[in-house]
């Protein structure tokens, strides 16, 4: 269905999405919103795998499997991250990233 869209355009969309995610990760102070940024970045990369698979090696579906596994790992990562946030919140009553600096030097 995507014959009429050049690969470069799709990649531009994903890179934009990636850098928007990076922006979110760098500016937000709430850890949950930082996690949203991370998810965006991860998603952008995931799309890239699929796109390269479809455009450059259409006879294979390896990129698709990469995407599948990344989704699984993202799910695991999100679960652990949120468990950490909840524990953090319970301990210091805050999930502000700037207050989590106990482990410096």
């Amino acid at each position: 269905m995507m014959e009429h869209v050049p690969i470069a355009h799709v990649l531009m969309v994903t890179s934009t999405m990636f850098f928007i995610g990076a922006y979110g990760f760098l500016t937000r102070r709430n850890l949950v919103t930082m996690l949203i940024g991370v998810e965006l970045m991860l998603n952008a990369v995931n799309i890239n795998f699929v796109i390269f698979d479809r455009y450059v090696y259409p006879d294979q579906i390896e990129g698709h499997f990469f995407a599948l596994f990344i989704i699984a790992i993202a799910a695991a990562e999100a679960a652990v991250a949120i468990a950490i946030f909840i524990n953090l919140y319970r301990n210091i009553r805050s999930i502000d990233v700037e207050e989590v600096d106990k482990m410096k030097y």
Binding site: F19, E39, D59, H64, I71, A79, R90
Partner: protein, 171 residues
């Protein structure tokens, strides 16, 4: 312009706009919902690429799983009405410069690079093919990563429970 192209650019626009909203919105619950739209746009993209199974997984795991998890954690850790404070101007400025610079660099590379596209007939990604590949142990089979991922998920599950568990020594 073909219909598919129009559909793609629409989806792309939705994805980028909602991504932007997700990282800038000051209401945290809304941010999570905007993320959900961005992820759903990705699923639509997968549908367009004829990867129905992957699209379904994207919807179920991301939209159904991760976003719900995020929303739960938001509900547990913040007040619904609370607005996030605005990030400092200096911080926004530096970050925007850095991010835009990176984006420019990437776009520069993308526009200047000649992609060699494959011309072979497109491979079918039906559920049966995916299933056989995922559990195949011959060449091209993914049974080992599949099992490793299973263990990783199990470990993450146990880890999440252990970390989030209320400390038993505290009342």
């Amino acid at each position: 312009m073909a219909t598919s192209a129009i559909i793609f650019y629409t989806i792309a626009g939705i994805m980028i706009i909602f991504s932007l909203l997700a990282v800038t919105s000051r209401r945290i619950l809304r941010a999570a919902v905007y993320l959900l739209f961005a992820l759903a746009g990705t699923a639509a993209l997968y549908f367009m690429l004829d990867y129905q199974f992957l699209a379904a997984v994207q919807l179920i795991v991301y939209a159904g799983g991760i976003v719900v998890l995020i929303i739960f954690s938001i509900l547990l850790t913040t007040h619904i009405n609370e607005k996030l404070e605005k990030p400092a101007w200096g911080k926004v400025f530096i970050t925007a410069t850095l991010v835009l610079g990176g984006l420019m660099l990437t776009l520069f590379v993308l526009t200047n690079h000649e992609f060699v596209l494959g011309t072979e007939p497109t491979a079918e990604a039906t559920v049966s093919v995916i299933g056989e590949r995922l559990l195949g142990y011959q060449a091209g089979g993914y049974v080992l990563p599949f099992e490793v991922i299973s263990i990783l998920l199990l470990a993450a599950m146990i880890g999440a429970i252990v970390i989030a568990k209320r400390n038993s020594t505290k009342s």
